[in-house]
């Protein structure tokens, strides 16, 4: 009897030791990661001391150039989207996610032609945020309008409400994506002003960088609240307008020469 109980005790000890070791092995990396993450600037809450925005000088936006669109596609993994098997090219063009597009317009009276990139305008009063039933569509303190993909139910009401048609729905199964830009079937997404770059403290957006690389410099990105920022100085020195300014949404993206 005694022998048996000792044997059981030993087994129990071995089990507890293994379990404790296993638990430690599971928890420690998480704790370490948490500590590391805590040391990063990303853990600082976003504040309203800044408001990110853009100026688009359409006089400098070149006809036929789509460097901003290509750069956005690469930065945000939009080029990884794959047409579902059996779908026509034409329909896929209408269904794939697009964050920034080039538009060419002609004034009916004067005939003046403008080229411009169009994307989420990061409104101060975004209609997409107002209409979202779950609050998945939200505006950060720094003015960036985003979609929380954990609470987006895919109702697409924000797409209906956006005056700029800036949002896209993920119609297909997502096979590959970038870890910095989550994407999932059945959710809505749009331009984030390269929010991953903001959180890493980088200076600009992929589209603005690409436009500068091409030598056009039609897109200026920056902090509207910082009166010394290049963006604010440009905004102060030239006449700009908001697209659909009759809606009084106070957009973060401004245009000149439209």
């Amino acid at each position: 009897m005694k022998e048996t109980s000792e044997r059981i005790d030993q087994q129990r000890r071995a089990f507890i030791a293994t379990a404790a070791g296993g638990a430690a092995a599971t928890v420690v990396p998480g704790v370490l990661l948490y500590t590391v993450a805590g040391a990063e600037p990303r853990s600082e809450p976003v504040t309203s001391a800044v408001r990110w925005g853009m100026l688009i000088d359409t006089a400098k936006c070149a006809d036929g150039c789509s460097a901003c669109v290509t750069a956005c596609d690469e930065e945000n993994g939009l080029n990884l989207q794959q047409k579902p098997e059996g779908e026509s090219e034409e329909k896929w063009e209408r269904q794939k996610s697009v964050w920034i597009r080039k538009v060419r317009v002609r004034d009916n009276l004067s005939g003046h032609i403008s080229n411009l990139p169009l994307m989420c305008q990061h409104c101060e009063h975004p209609p997409c945020v107002d209409v979202c039933p779950t609050g998945a569509s939200f505006k950060r303190a720094d003015g960036i309008v985003l979609v929380d993909r954990h609470t987006c139910i895919g109702c697409r009401y924000c797409m209906l409400a956006c005056p700029y048609k800036a949002r896209s729905f993920i119609h297909e199964r997502v096979e590959s994506k970038l870890s910095r830009v989550p994407r999932g079937k059945g959710c809505v997404e749009s331009c984030t002003l390269c929010v991953q770059r903001r959180d890493d403290g980088e200076a600009s957006t992929a589209c603005a960088d690409a436009c500068a690389r091409e030598g056009h410099k039609a897109i200026v990105f920056g902090d509207i609240k910082d009166s010394e920022s290049p963006l604010s100085r440009r905004l102060a020195s030239m006449a700009t307008r908001q697209i659909r300014e009759d809606l009084a949404l106070n957009t973060g993206v401004r245009y000149s020469n439209v």
């Binding site: 269904q95 538009v103 060419r104 009401y157």
Partner: protein, 408 residues
């Protein structure tokens, strides 16, 4: 008025089970279509980033709006005290609840992430009219069930008038909310108008009554219960008034749109050069869905024939679906006015180049899901009628309105 006796629907078992079988099959196919769309993603539908609400929304909004209107008959009886409508109150409540469930199912199953319904039920943004509607819809079911209890349970009878009044206010709010889902959208010219809210109320009266009348006539016909002229003529005349009400709001809508220079293009799109949307508007909604039923109802001979009256109801329902197609999908297809007085020459995102409307071709899956919702509504009605006493034994003239008969 004689004492009204209610009895379960006593249609022959083989006919009843056949009906249930057909409805369950249609509902099942709709469920499978939803499962397929959910599994594959919305790329298998005709919906795009330009037209993001398709045929499922046409059915869902139609059913939800009709649900509110189907309860109208009960309101007229218990709130406004019209005795002739009182025997119809129970059926009115049942049809209303059933239509709402059918519509909500379609709406939910068309979500990009239907499995996140729990998020929609637990996380709210109260600035969203959509979030209000979640409460209005679920609350409607609770209110109608309570109202039905006061009508069907002797102990509840004293509260019928109060419950009926509350249900009436609730459903008017619900339809206002549904109309406002579109009315509150400043982005799109077809929406962005307060007139959509009362227009949806008028639509709810018309579509809900048409469905109610068809259910009433079918169920009574199947187990040989009589419907007298007093009830039938009164209902069809009421339907005519509601059809007229919808037409009035359509007229107001277009007059205001035409009057404003910036919206003239939109009005002309619907009325003249919108292709499929113009055709569906004039042929489906105005002609077949409104003017022809009015012609039937007021025809000296056909207007007295139950079969023709049923045909008029069917046409109103088809016209209702047409109206939703025109409002919802036409409103999305019409290009957004991003640059007033400028023409879009090229766009990387289908922004209405040269004023072209967005392309949309509904897929079979969407239609099946929509029909599945209709089948679920009818299934609930059929089961309810069989197990509980919703239907009065007779609606002949002596039973419902002996005074009217004496006058005639």
């Amino acid at each position: 008025m004689k004492r009204i006796v209610y009895r379960e629907w006593s249609v022959a078992p083989h006919r009843y089970w056949a009906l249930l079988g057909i409805l369950a099959a249609v509902a099942g196919v709709g469920g499978l279509a939803a499962l397929y769309m959910e599994h594959e993603g919305h790329w298998v539908t005709g919906m795009t980033n330009q037209v993001m609400w398709g045929v499922p929304h046409v059915f869902a909004v139609f059913l939800i709006v009709a649900a509110s209107g189907a309860l109208n008959v009960a309101s007229i009886g218990s709130v406004f005290g019209k005795i002739i409508y009182k025997p119809l109150g129970r059926l009115s409540g049942l049809v209303a609840a059933a239509l709402l469930v059918g519509g909500l199912l379609v709406l939910v199953l068309d979500l990009g992430r239907p499995e996140r319904l729990i998020v929609a039920m637990t996380t709210y943004n109260f600035r969203s009219i959509f979030a209000w509607n979640i409460f209005l819809y679920t609350g409607f079911l609770a209110v109608v069930l309570a109202y039905l209890w006061t009508m069907m349970e002797h102990k509840g009878n004293p509260y019928t008038k109060h419950a009926g009044f509350f249900a009436m206010v609730w459903r008017l709010t619900l339809t206002t909310g549904t109309g406002s889902i579109f009315g509150f959208l400043v982005a799109r010219q077809a929406y962005d108008t307060a007139v959509l809210a009362p227009m949806f109320i008028a639509m709810s009266f018309s579509y809900g009554l048409a469905i109610f009348m068809l259910v009433l006539m079918f169920t009574f016909d199947q187990d040989g219960r009589p419907i007298g002229q007093a009830v039938l003529y009164r209902l069809k005349n009421l339907l005519a008034i509601f059809i007229g009400g919808v037409l009035f709001f359509v007229l107001v809508y277009f007059i205001t749109k035409l009057y404003m220079a910036k919206n003239t293009g939109l009005a002309l799109f619907y009325l003249l050069d919108g292709g499929i949307y113009t055709a569906v508007f004039w042929v489906g909604w105005i002609l077949a869905g409104s003017l022809v039923p009015l012609g039937i109802i007021f025809h000296p001979v056909r207007g007295k024939d139950p079969r023709w009256i049923a045909a008029a109801c069917g046409l109103v329902i088809l016209g209702g679906l047409a109206s939703m197609y025109v409002i919802i999908i036409g409103g999305e297809a019409f290009p957004m006015q991003l640059f007033p007085d400028q023409t879009i020459l090229a766009s990387g995102f289908f922004d209405g180049v040269g004023g072209a409307p967005a392309h949309y071709a509904p897929s079979l899956w969407e239609v099946l899901l929509g029909l599945g919702g209709v089948a679920v509504a009818m299934l609930i009605t059929a089961v309810g009628l069989r197990v509980l006493q919703f239907l009065p034994e007779s609606l002949d003239d002596q039973t419902v309105d002996p005074d009217a008969l004496a006058k005639a």
